[in-house]
Subunit: 323 residues, 5 copies
């Protein structure tokens, strides 16, 4: 679906274009065209590929989707794949894809499986004509920056999940089984995020510093800023990975500990029952000559002894922490 | 076994050759020869080595097989080893080998222990004469691309296996023993795939970017595309490794958890039996003076007390989750 | 809040400035201005940004805070972010931030969420006019050095915590549950410190060695010294990480060991009760013809046998370490 | 012990030399000397050092032995240390050492603690005079190649051991204790092999590619071949390491699983005994008024109830897999 | 404390100097001064710093101590920090420090917290005047070499400790608790050694190969030799780390195994007691009509049945390895 197709001249919006006029406007000096597609049909994509003369291999990647984030140069044209991450209601992460084709005088953005659009980026750009004037390189930056900014929200959510899990881990009330499941699910999400972020970081690193694609020239501070954001996310990912794997070990220790405390309780209660049972067994023997049995105080005395022994045992088990 | 031996001129098929004519055709300008062998006898291999003047060390590697994937330059001739991965009926991965000799005007492909052939690659090439015209470098790309494409199917299968395992891991019905066996088997397969992919990725990296073997010149975008596919597979492998080792830990935790719940059940049931047994023991004592024994309601009352105590215990154990 | 705003000429304090005079003094030769802010309002920050003509992206980072430590060059101006670490009463680590803007003739330091100030750095600098004379580059060094020096105190605290934990780990008296919680908390702190230190080390590495920002010229020995301190902290962090993960494994082993010793005790005591109970059961049988029951010594003899068997068992269990 | 001392001229054997003639032959053009020592006495070594004018530090290393594999250049002379690995009867790996001194016109090989010699290498070389003619560099290659080839046999043995261990791991019959011991022993062997292989790989890497010692010139394809073999061994080592550490975890899981199944059996059998014991206890009570006791069918009925309850329990435990 | 202060001319000892004469001798051609201090007072250090005109930052490091090993160039002067490792009686490792200042014509060595001195190094040097003649660079080498040589003794001790631990690990007699403690202590020592060795290896790497400090010129073979020793120690450290972490896992498995065997014994013995107790309970019931009770052989027969059942059970448990 075509969302937007606008030509800009010196940072000012010229006109909303029809698809077939794009080629015309690409010829004009100081003009660039910014097109946004969403979940496009193959035909739409082919039409655009024709208008912008895109390389076959890149178009194929855009058509197939499910690429890893990457940045490729086809002559003057950059092809950049980004992944979007959107939390679903069930707490999972939905992975979408944004494909960007950036030439000297155009930007083509293709959004797939991504609910939230990038209209706000266009708005912001149109309100800063002195930056938009720089051209396609700045729009490219603004789009990457928008995608990366949304990663922060995801990271904050994951950090909250880990915090909540840590609390549950040490609480005696929580279910170890549910903890394991949630730890595993969190791990899965971390892997998903790192799939989106790590290759992108690699790619963005080539947009500032040494040799830089021509279209990104003069914007080094901006791309370095994005690079720095990605580095921050990656560091945070690594820490979470690290804490998570420690948390999994801790959870295992907690299960062992719980098991151990059950064993202790079992042992203690078994003893509390075994003592009176043994004594009762003894006075249940049928020897003719058992003087205690004749004594009229024998029975209450025996009961008292049983009680006293059990109270003593109870007190002792309490002291060593078995009960 | 010789499968195919064809000469091409400017991207068009010239003729099916006899083995002994190869040398002739290699002399002609703008002509290249593409030979495909399958599980060749040593003699066949030697004949080809003579026709194409291949380096002794490379031929020895092709003869012995079981090489790691690699790319070696012997003067103008490239020698490339790839591994094929084919799932067997029993769910294992069969490892085959494809050896490619690529010279300025020939491609010799040798398929070993690999059921599925590369006829489709030849078909595709013959239908794109404008690309086939580029010569041996393009055929080389097309063959590597075909091998790598098949890795994706393997990866998808492994991802499905992991997904299914994850589900079983958290299900109360599954057998922990079978889970361990399957986790271990999956691990083995990941190692097998990584043996095929990682060295190949290294090798393909030398076919685009800086200095490139002459025969691959002008095809950088294509080789970069293969490189990117391999990078994607490797990332996916790493994630699977990571998830798998977490899954193994999770499985261990599940076993501990299961053990712990058995201990709790055991302790609870032991208590439920111990109470009436102890009471019965007491009233089984042979003291002369045990007034309860004379009472006509002693017996039913005692049974009632036993029952009430057990019901209370039952309810308590249910509440703390031991039963 | 503005804490200090002073102009220096050849290492000597010239005057305390009003904010609006800063721009004047920046024009004078051999003069530099050193301004210190604390938790500034956005307006204060904007005013400073205007006086020193700071780059928008850097100012935005300073405004938002929660950056990772980094060093960025905007033309002649360095923008450096450092994290401060201050232990709270509850034993946690509070993370603050110091943002430094360093130009050829000015230093602007902004302290956020950090209780302890840097007045001592200013004092030390003013007492060493021959070094202060070098200008902004030396003040920059002195500030980084002060921040890094405070990391050592934090590291010593963490080392002490680990030492204390290690002792508790092997003591039979300690609570395994509390040990796990403390090990996990310590892990968290190590991650926090490494977030502050590792990126800073990277950044400082660019201030000595190869190409160096102009303002840091001639101070290589000093920056190398800071670099070396950071390397020392990082090594120590790594060792602590390493020991900590071993300690977590050890703790798990200790829990298993404890569980195992409970099982042994349980088994031993069960046996001690089972023997007399079984014997008593036998003599509680109601067979008509049980000669022992008639014997007048039957009862004491039986009791004696029970006692002897239990003493033998006790002695045996003691010997194999089950009791 | 001197094993061999031969001079070659243009790839043809000239003569078996006396030790004192070596120096003479070294002066002749197109001639090189190949000496093989085995577990030499210090004096023998010193004599050789004098004949070939070897560097003191290298000779000291050769005298002391127990070096890590390495390659050092002393002027024109290469000093290379290799480790040999030979399986002993008890299944351990015996580590020997081969020290090679290679100059423009000589090769001195010193074999220590190594049963199997390198006569076959000399034979092969003497049968390929066109290669032997290349001189010391080719002999050097042939010796390294022979040592590396023997590593493959060791690797195959270790792979077999791992395969056998994996099978035992999942078999219910095997002894977990023996499995642990064997896993640990295998780990030890992997470390031993990696000590021999990894540093050698590093060293051989310097014999092809960029700058190459003069004596190895023109043999790049050969050294690259050895390098490739070493890379293959290292990859295999890494996989084995990886599988082994997974196997150790699996073994731990198997032990837990076994423990868990014992707990279940214990709980089930305890219940099967507890039910009749409790019922018997009840009818062992001495209440005057227990009508069942008077009934003539009371006893067989009670026995029947006991039996039925136990059969029901048995069936239930079977169903949930506790028995 | 000043230990030694000697001037050398062309490799020959000239004279023992007074501290105040040092400056004089430093002016003479072909002369160098070698001073050794031990645990110096601050004043002694300051005096030396003045004599040799040492850089303030280096002197401060030497004064404070507890540096990580490092090598720093201050103009022509090298400042090198090494750590010494000395086993104490209690089996711990005492960490000392040696600071070396090396200029074109002097060596100043400062030994801290290190019992064993370096007189032997001086002796060896004075007996090899042809090497001592090279000057400060050779003395520097000789001192580093001496420190590194002592690491080997430490490594051998740690290897012995690990060997002994491995044996205990698999012995049924050893105490798992003591094993854990010793494994942990060994881990601590490995970390201590690696703190001393790894940064030193980095530092020494800069003394041979590419650009080398002028004072170390012409001694590349010697420094490479030290570098090689350090590489050997590091490899050995890594292997020990690796084996140790496997050993910790093995120990955990052994504990689980032990626990599991206790569970089995417990279950088996419980069954051996439960059978006669249940039978006795049945014949302790008070039914009027229990024909067996009247039979005169009932009692011995019952005892016989109990015995036979227990013997059968015993035999069965023996067979499955539970007893």
């Amino acid at each position: 679906m075509l969302i937007n197709c606008v030509a800009y001249h010196n940072g000012q919006k010229l006109a909303d274009l029809q698809q077939e006029d794009i080629h015309d406007y690409l010829q004009r000096p100081d003009t660039f065209v910014w097109v946004a597609l969403r979940d496009p049909e193959p035909a739409e994509l082919d039409a655009m590929a024709a208008q912008f003369e895109l390389h076959e291999l890149a178009v194929e990647d855009a058509r197939n989707g499910h690429q890893r984030p990457k940045l490729e140069e086809y002559g003057e044209v950059l092809f950049c794949v980004l992944q979007t991450l959107e939390p679903t209601e069930s707490g999972e992460l939905r992975v979408g894809e944004v494909d960007l084709f950036v030439g000297p005088n155009f930007v083509l953005s293709i959004r797939n499986d991504t609910r939230k659009g990038f209209v706000s980026v266009r708005d912001r750009c149109e309100h800063e004509p002195e930056l938009l004037q720089i051209g396609a390189g700045f729009v490219f930056y603004a789009l990457i920056d928008a995608v990366v900014d949304r990663y922060f929200a995801v990271m904050h959510q994951l950090e909250d999940e880990l915090d909540e899990l840590e609390e549950r881990l040490f609480s005696r009330k929580s279910s170890a089984r549910r903890n394991i499941e949630d730890l595993y699910a969190l791990k899965r999400k971390l892997v998903t995020v790192s799939h989106a972020v790590v290759p992108l970081h690699e790619a963005v690193g080539r947009l500032h510093g040494g040799r830089v694609p021509r279209v990104c020239g003069g914007l080094q501070n901006y791309y370095r800023d994005v690079d720095d954001h990605l580095a921050r996310i990656i560091r945070s990912l690594e820490s979470q990975r690290d804490m998570l794997s420690t948390a999994i070990q801790v959870n295992l220790a907690m299960i062992s500990l719980d098991d151990s405390s059950v064993s202790k309780k079992l042992a203690a209660y078994a003893a509390l029952f075994a003592v009176p049972t043994m004594i009762a067994g003894i006075y249940g023997m049928n020897f003719d000559n058992m003087p205690e049995l004749k004594s009229s105080d024998g029975y209450p005395l025996t009961l008292a002894i049983m009680l006293v022994l059990d109270v003593l045992l109870w007190w002792r088990f309490k002291k060593v922490g078995w009960l």
